[in-house]
C-alpha cells in the first residue's frame, strides 16, 4: 500500500520551529519518521507535540526550518500533502448532524471521491471499525469509544500513506482503548505509516517501533522503546518507601555507582539498576529503615518522568 519507500522518510523535519506570538511552541527540532513504521511522540502537556502534528497535517503553518511530508514541502504543497495523509485530531470533530455512514461518505467527497466509489470503501471501513450495524445512527448516539473508532475510520477514506493521530485514546475506557489499538495494529500490518502522540506509556510501548520524547518545544531523547529504557534507567527499578528517620542523602551516598540513577519524591525513592534484587539485598536496613520495598521492571514511564520531571504541567 505504501509506495513511498523509495522517496525517503514519511516525515522529515530540520530545525523546525513554531511560535504563537511570543510563545515558542516548537523550538528547532530535527526528526525523521521512516516510512512504514509506527512513530510516537511523547511529552507532557504543552511540550509542542500537537503543534508539530498540526504543522504536518496542515492546520498550522510551518514557522521556521524545513518540514517535508511524503517528500513534499509542507509550506508550499499543503493540498497535495493533505490528499495523501489521514488525520485523527485530538478533539472529536465528527459531523453530528450526519449519520455514521454519511460522515464517511462526506469525508470521501472532501477528497474528491464520489459517492459511487466511496460506497464499497465505506462498507469496508464500517466493518474495519466494527460499526457496520451503526451505519444509520446519528453520531450523537455513539459511545466515546465508537466515536474514536469512527474518527480512525474517517482518517482512512482516502487510503492514506501516513496517518497522524493526536492522542487517539485519551479518555477511553480500557476496552475501547484496546479496540482502537487493534485497529491501529491492523493498519500497521497494511504498511501504513503511523505517527501518534500519546500520554500513555503502555500505548507507546505497545504500538511504537520508535519514539521521541519532547519537552518545552525540544526533543529530549529518541530511540526504540526498549532501548530507551535500557539507556536511561536500566532494566529494573527498586521502589523504596523510606521511614521517617531514614536520611535519603546518606543512603544515596552509600549506594553510589551501584544504581544507574534515582528519583526521590516525598520520601519515595526509586533506584534504577540492572539487578534491583541484588541492590536491595546489599542495603544496610538497620541504618536505613524502610516502610516498604518493591522490585519491578523499569518502564518507559520511568524514562519519561526521569527526563521531563515530576512537576505538574498545567
Amino acid at each position: 500500500m505504501s509506495a513511498n519507500g523509495d522517496v525517503g522518510p514519511a516525515v522529515l523535519a530540520r530545525r523546525l520551529a513554531k511560535s504563537y506570538g511570543s510563545r515558542v511552541a516548537v523550538d528547532g527540532i530535527d526528526f525523521e519518521v521512516p516510512a512504514g513504521i509506527c512513530f510516537g511522540f511523547l511529552g507532557p502537556n504543552g511540550a509542542g507535540k500537537t503543534t508539530t502534528m498540526k504543522m504536518i497535517y496542515g492546520l498550522a503553518r510551518v514557522g521556521e526550518g524545513e518540514l517535508r511530508v511524503l517528500g513534499m514541502d509542507a509550506r508550499r504543497e499543503r493540498r497535495q500533502i493533505k490528499a495523501r495523509i489521514g488525520v485523527v485530531a485530538q478533539e472529536t470533530n465528527l459531523d453530528g448532524d450526519l449519520t455514521v455512514r454519511e460522515n464517511l461518505v462526506q469525508q470521501a467527497s472532501y477528497f474528491g471521491i464520489g459517492a459511487a466509489t466511496a460506497s464499497p470503501r465505506v462498507d469496508d471501513l464500517l466493518a474495519f471499525s466494527l460499526l457496520t450495524d451503526r451505519g444509520g445512527d446519528r453520531v450523537h448516539a455513539l459511545s466515546g469509544g465508537m466515536k474514536r473508532r469512527l474518527m480512525v475510520a474517517r482518517s482512512m477514506v482516502n487510503d492514506p500513506e501516513l496517518i497522524v493521530l493526536d492522542e487517539p485514546t485519551t479518555g477511553l475506557d480500557p476496552q475501547a482503548r484496546l479496540a482502537v489499538w487493534r485497529s491501529l495494529e491492523r493498519l500497521q500490518r497494511r504498511g501504513v505509516t503511523l505517527l501518534l502522540t500519546t500520554h500513555y506509556m503502555e500505548e507507546a510501548a505497545r504500538l511504537c517501533d520508535r519514539l521521541l520524547i519532547m519537552d518545552e518545544g525540544k526533543i529530549v531523547t529518541e530511540g526504540q522503546p526498549g532501548a530507551l529504557v535500557g539507556e536511561h534507567v536500566g532494566r529494573e527499578a527498586l521502589e523504596l518507601e523510606l521511614a521517617d528517620d531514614c536520611d535519603p542523602a546518606a543512603l544515596l551516598a552509600t549506594i553510589g555507582e551501584r544504581a544507574d540513577g534515582h528519583e526521590l519524591h516525598d520520601g519515595a525513592l526509586t533506584l534504577f539498576a540492572d539487578d534491583a534484587e541484588e541492590l536491595l539485598r546489599s542495603l544496610d536496613h538497620d541504618r536505613f529503615p524502610t516502610e516498604s520495598a518493591m522490585v519491578r521492571r523499569a518502564t518507559l514511564e520511568d524514562v519519561f518522568l526521569r527526563l521531563t520531571g515530576r512537576s505538574l504541567r498545567e
Binding site: 492546520l59 493540498r79 470533530n93 459531523d95 448532524d97 467527497s109 472532501y110 474528491g112
Partner: protein, 273 residues
C-alpha cells in the same frame, strides 16, 4: 474582553492562488450543508419560512388598508410583497453565515477536520457562501410563489427573480461571513443584527419609498445591499427598467467580489495559524 481561542483578526495578505477557490472542493462543502439542511428543514427550520408572511399580513393586508391610494400608484400590498422576497433572502443568509457558520467553526470544530483534507480556506468560504445563497434563494422563491399565488405580482418578468435573489444571497452571505470571520466573540452578533440587519430591513424601501424623505436617507440606503435587492425584485414584479436593474445587479456583484477575500484571509489566519 476575552477572545475565542484562535481569534486572529484580518490575517495577512494572500497570494492569488490562495484566494481562488477550487469549484470541485467548494462543491463538496455545498453538498455537506445541503445534506444537513435537507434533514432539518421540515422540523426546526419550518417556522423560518413563515416569517415574511406575518409581515405581509400585518403590514400589507393590515396597515395597507389605511393607505388608500397605495404608493406611487401601486396598491400597498403589491408595493410591500416583492420587498419581502428580498428580505426573506437576507434573513436566511444572515442567519446561515452568522450563527450556523460560527457553530460549525468554533463549537463543533468541523472546519478543523475539513481543512485537514484537501479543502483549503478559500474552498470552504466559497462552498459555505454558495450554500447560504442557495438557501436564501429557496426562501425567496417560497415567498415569490405565495405572493404570486395571491395576486400581488403584476409583471410576468417576476419569473426571472430567482437568479437575482441568488446574486443578492451571495452578497448578503459574503457580508455575514466577513463579520463571522472577524469577530472575536459570539456576543457581537447582537450588533450585527440590531445595528445592521434590522435597520436595513426597515429602511431599505420595503415598507415605504424614499421620495418624501430627505435626500440623504436614500444616499445611506444606496450603500446597503438590501436596497438594491429590493429595487430589483420590485422592478421585476411590477415592470422592470433595464438600466436600473443593471446598475443594482452590478452593485451586488462588485461588492460580493471585492469582499470575498476578506473572510478567506481571516479564516485562514484563525484556523491555520
Amino acid at each position: 474582553m476575552s477572545y475565542e481561542p484562535g481569534y486572529a483578526g484580518l490575517g495577512e495578505r494572500l497570494a492569488l492562488r490562495d484566494l481562488i477557490p477550487s469549484p470541485r472542493h467548494a462543491a463538496a462543502i455545498w453538498v455537506r450543508n445541503a445534506r444537513v439542511f435537507s434533514k432539518l428543514w421540515k422540523g426546526a427550520l419550518l417556522p423560518t419560512f413563515l416569517d415574511p408572511f406575518f409581515y405581509l399580513l400585518a403590514l400589507g393586508f393590515g396597515l395597507g388598508t389605511y393607505i388608500a391610494h397605495g404608493i406611487n400608484g401601486i396598491p400597498y400590498k403589491e408595493f410591500v410583497a416583492p420587498g419581502l422576497i428580498a428580505s426573506a433572502a437576507m434573513w436566511s443568509a444572515a442567519f446561515e453565515t452568522t450563527y450556523n457558520v460560527y457553530f460549525r467553526m468554533n463549537e463543533l470544530r468541523l472546519y478543523d477536520n475539513v481543512l485537514s483534507t484537501p479543502i483549503e480556506p478559500q474552498d470552504l468560504v466559497a462552498g459555505d457562501v454558495a450554500w447560504s445563497a442557495t438557501r436564501a434563494t429557496v426562501y425567496g422563491i417560497v415567498v415569490l410563489i405565495v405572493v404570486a399565488a395571491v395576486g400581488l405580482v403584476s409583471s410576468p418578468w417576476a419569473i426571472l427573480i430567482p437568479p437575482f435573489v441568488l446574486l443578492g444571497g451571495l452578497c448578503f452571505s459574503v457580508i455575514g461571513y466577513t463579520f463571522t470571520s472577524l469577530i472575536p466573540k459570539i456576543d457581537l452578533y447582537s450588533y450585527f443584527f440590531t445595528l445592521g440587519v434590522t435597520p436595513m430591513f426597515l429602511f431599505s424601501g420595503i415598507f415605504f419609498p424614499f421620495n418624501q424623505l430627505p435626500g440623504w436617507v436614500e444616499v445611506v440606503a444606496w450603500f446597503t445591499p438590501l436596497y438594491h435587492m429590493v429595487e430589483i425584485t420590485r422592478g421585476m414584479a411590477t415592470g422592470p427598467e433595464a438600466a436600473s436593474i443593471l446598475i443594482h445587479t452590478a452593485w451586488l456583484a462588485v461588492v460580493t467580489a471585492l469582499l470575498f477575500p476578506v473572510p478567506v484571509r481571516a479564516l485562514r489566519a484563525r484556523l491555520v495559524p
